[in-house]
C-alpha cells in the first residue's frame, strides 16, 4: 500500500491544486449548451423558416418597386412596406413557440426513454440544476434567439429592399422613413421576454412536468386530460373556467386589467414596468410555473429509465 501511495503522489498533488468546485454559472452554461446540442431543431427550424421567408422575399422583390410606385402617396404605402417585416416577426414567433413546446415535452422524457438519464445522473449535477436549465431554454433562450433571428432577418430584408429600390430609381430613404424598426424591435423584445418568456412560463413548466411523468406518449398525456376535464366541467356545471383560463394564457398577455391582449402585432404595445409588475395574471402564472417545476424536479429525481 505504501509503495502504491508513492506512485500516486503526483495525482494527489494535482488533485489538491484543482478547484474543488465548478462555478454554478459555468456549470449552468454547460447544461444549456448540452440542450442546444441535443435539440438542434430549436434553432434549425426557425432558421429554416426564416431562410424560406427570405427566399420568398427575394422573389417578391421583382414586383416590389411596381407595388411601391402604385402605392406612392396613399395610406397603403405604410402597409406595403411594413407587412413583410411584421409577417416575418410573427412567423418566427410562432415557430419558436411551437419548437419550445415540442422541446419541453421531450426534455425529461427522451432521456428516460434512451436510458441516457443513467449517464446524466452519474455526473455531479443536481436534478434541480438540470430541470432549471431545461426550463430556461423555452423561457429565456428561445425568446432571445427569436429576437436575434427576427432582427437579423429584418436587417437582411432591409438591405435587400433598399438595394432594389435604389436600383429602380426610387430612393431608399422613403423605405426607411416608413419603417420604424428600432421602435418595432423594442416592442418585439419586450413582447418576447414578458409574453413568450414569463407569461408562457406555466405552459412550458406544465409540459416539462408531463414530460417528467409520462411513461409513454407525453403529447397525449399533456393534451387529452385537459380536453377531458374541460368537457366534464362543461357537462357537470355548464361552466368553462378551464377553457377560459387556458385561452387567456395562450392568446392573452400580461395587462393591467387582466383582459386578453391578443397576439397580433398591434397589441404588442410595450408594457411599462409598473404595468407588468402589477399584473396579477403574470404573478399567478409564475407561481404555478414554480410549482410545476418543483414537481418536475421531484419526478426527475425519482424516475429512472423506461
Amino acid at each position: 500500500m505504501n509503495t502504491q501511495s508513492n506512485a500516486t503522489a503526483p495525482t494527489l498533488g494535482t488533485q489538491s491544486a484543482a478547484p474543488a468546485d465548478i462555478p454554478a454559472l459555468q456549470q449552468f452554461y454547460s447544461l444549456i449548451q448540452r440542450e442546444t446540442w441535443e435539440s438542434r431543431y430549436l434553432y434549425i427550424a426557425p432558421l429554416a423558416a426564416a431562410g424560406l421567408f427570405l427566399l420568398g422575399f427575394v422573389i417578391s422583390m421583382v414586383y416590389f418597386p411596381g407595388r411601391l410606385r402604385s402605392a406612392l402617396g396613399s395610406a397603403e404605402l405604410h402597409d406595403v412596406i411594413n407587412q413583410p417585416f411584421d409577417l416575418v416577426a410573427v412567423m418566427i414567433m410562432a415557430f419558436t413557440f411551437f419548437v419550445a413546446m415540442f422541446y419541453c415535452l421531450d426534455a425529461l422524457y427522451g432521456e428516460r426513454r434512451d436510458r441516457s438519464i443513467l449517464f446524466w445522473k452519474s455526473l455531479p449535477v443536481s436534478d434541480t440544476a438540470t430541470v432549471i436549465s431545461k426550463a430556461s431554454i423555452p423561457i429565456v433562450v428561445v425568446p432571445l434567439f427569436a429576437f436575434a433571428l427576427t432582427v437579423a432577418t429584418q436587417l437582411v430584408m432591409l438591405v435587400l429592399s433598399s438595394v432594389v429600390i435604389q436600383g429602380s430609381g426610387l430612393t431608399a430613404g422613403m423605405l426607411w422613413s416608413q419603417l420604424s424598426l428600432f421602435h418595432a424591435w423594442h416592442t418585439l423584445f419586450v413582447h418576447l421576454v414578458t409574453g413568450h418568456g414569463l407569461w408562457y412560463a406555466p405552459i412550458y413548466a406544465y409540459l416539462l412536468l408531463v414530460s417528467a411523468w409520462a411513461r409513454r406518449a407525453p403529447f397525449l398525456w399533456a393534451t387529452l386530460p385537459l380536453v377531458a376535464v374541460g368537457g366534464a366541467e362543461k357537462i357537470a356545471f355548464n361552466t368553462q373556467y378551464l377553457v377560459t383560463i387556458l385561452e387567456g394564457r395562450i392568446v392573452g398577455g400580461p395587462s393591467v386589467d387582466g383582459a386578453a391582449a391578443g397576439m397580433n402585432m398591434d397589441a404588442m404595445t410595450p408594457f411599462t414596468l409598473t404595468q407588468l409588475v402589477s399584473s396579477p395574471g403574470l404573478w399567478i402564472g409564475l407561481l404555478v410555473a414554480t410549482a410545476f417545476l418543483a414537481g418536475a424536479i421531484r419526478l426527475r429525481r425519482q424516475r429512472g429509465p423506461i
Binding site: M1, Q4, S5, A7, T8, T11, T14, Q15, A18, P19, A20, D21, I22, Q26, Q27, Y29, S30, L31, Q33, R34, W37, E38, E111, D114, R115, S116, L118, F119, K121, S122, L123, P124, V125, S126, D127, A129, R301, Q302, G304
Partner: protein
C-alpha cells in the same frame, strides 16, 4: 473509514422485494465483485449506492447519504450503469466538453490520452461507434474523473472477449491505484476473478456470502477424488459436489488442507464453482438451478 456501509437496506417494488435487509461494508481500496443470479437485487443495490433509487435502512457512501446528496456524491464516485447509457446523439468532443464543464475533478487531457490509444474519433457521434467503442469511451471518461469510488453494473455485457479483457486490464493497470474502491456487478465471473480482492454473492435481496480472495484461498478447497476415496472424502462434509468425466470434484469449506491432500489434488476453487455451491445451498434453490 468504510467506503460504503449499508445497514438493513430494503427496497420493495410493488409486490417484489428487491433488497431484503442487506448489510454490507466495503473498505477503501478494495475491488469487490457483486455476483448474483438475474433478479437477485444487484442493480437495485448499486442504484441505491449511487443515489438513483430511494430505500429503507441506512446507507453511507463516502460520507454521503446517496439519495439526498447524489450530486455531491457523484463528485467522488463514478458509475457505469450499462454498456449503452451514453446518449447516442452526442459527439465525442461534445461529451468531453460537457463532462469538463460540469465535473470538478475531470481531467480532460487524461481522457484524450486514453482515447488516443483507441480508434475513436473526436468528431464521431456515439451512435456511430460500436458497442465496444462506446464502452471504451465511457471508461475513458471515468478514468479521467479521479474518483474515489467506481461502481460498475455489468459494464461489459454483450462485448466480445477482446474488449472485455481490455476493459478489465485498463481498469486494473491504469485506474486502480490501491486508494480507489471498485464495486463491480457482473455475470462474467471467470473473467473478473483475478481482478477482485473481495467477493459478495447476492441472492433474492440478501447478501448470502461474502469473503476476501485471501480468505477464499485459505478456507475453500476443491479436491478431485477417485471413486475409491470418495466415501472418505464425503465423510469430511463437502459443501458441494459435482462430477466431471466420471470423477468427483468436492468443495470443502474450512477443512484441513493436509487432510484433503491425502484424498487427491487440492486446488483453490474458481469463483464460478464456489458461486454455484453457495447458491445450491440456498433454501428453495435446487442444485443446478443457477448457471
Amino acid at each position: 473509514m468504510a467506503c460504503i456501509e449499508a445497514r438493513s437496506l430494503r427496497k420493495v417494488f410493488g409486490n417484489t422485494v428487491a433488497l431484503d435487509g442487506v448489510d454490507l461494508k466495503v473498505e477503501e481500496g478494495r475491488i469487490v465483485g457483486l455476483i448474483g443470479p438475474n433478479g437477485a437485487g444487484k442493480t437495485t443495490a448499486l442504484n441505491a449506492i449511487v443515489g438513483l433509487t430511494p430505500y429503507e435502512g441506512t446507507l453511507n457512501v463516502l460520507g454521503c447519504d446517496p439519495w439526498s446528496q447524489r450530486d455531491q456524491l457523484m463528485r467522488e464516485a463514478c458509475f457505469i450503469a450499462d454498456v449503452a447509457v451514453l446518449p447516442r446523439w452526442i459527439r465525442v468532443s461534445q461529451l468531453l466538453d460537457y463532462v469538463a464543464g460540469v465535473h470538478p475533478r475531470f481531467d480532460r487531457r487524461k481522457a484524450e490520452n486514453f482515447l488516443a490509444k483507441t480508434t475513436i474519433k473526436h468528431s464521431s457521434k456515439v451512435r456511430e461507434l460500436s458497442k465496444g467503442m462506446v464502452t471504451q469511451l465511457h471508461l475513458a471518461l471515468v478514468m479521467a474523473m479521479d474518483a474515489k469510488l467506481l461502481i460498475l453494473d455489468e459494464p461489459t455485457l454483450g462485448l466480445d472477449i477482446l474488449y472485455r479483457k481490455q476493459f478489465y486490464d485498463s481498469l486494473l493497470n491504469d485506474y486502480f491505484d490501491g486508494g480507489r474502491t471498485i464495486v463491480v456487478a457482473t455475470h462474467e465471473v471467470e473473467e473478473v476473478q483475478h481482478v477482485l480482492t473481495d467477493l459478495m454473492f447476492i441472492d433474492r435481496g440478501h447478501i448470502v456470502f461474502s469473503c476476501s480472495m485471501e480468505e477464499l484461498e485459505g478456507c475453500y478447497f476443491e479436491v478431485m477424488v477417485q471413486p475409491d476415496t470418495l466415501d472418505a472424502a464425503l465423510a469430511l462434509k463437502p459443501i458441494h459436489q459435482r462430477r466431471v468425466f466420471g470423477r468427483t470434484i468436492l468443495l470443502f469449506e474450512g477443512a484441513e488442507k493436509q487432510q484433503l491432500e491425502d484424498l487427491g489434488e487440492v486446488r483453490t476453487p474458481g469463483v464460478a464453482d464456489l458461486f454455484v455451491a453457495v447458491m445450491s445451498r440456498q433454501p428453495d434453490r435446487g442444485q443446478g438451478a443457477v448457471q
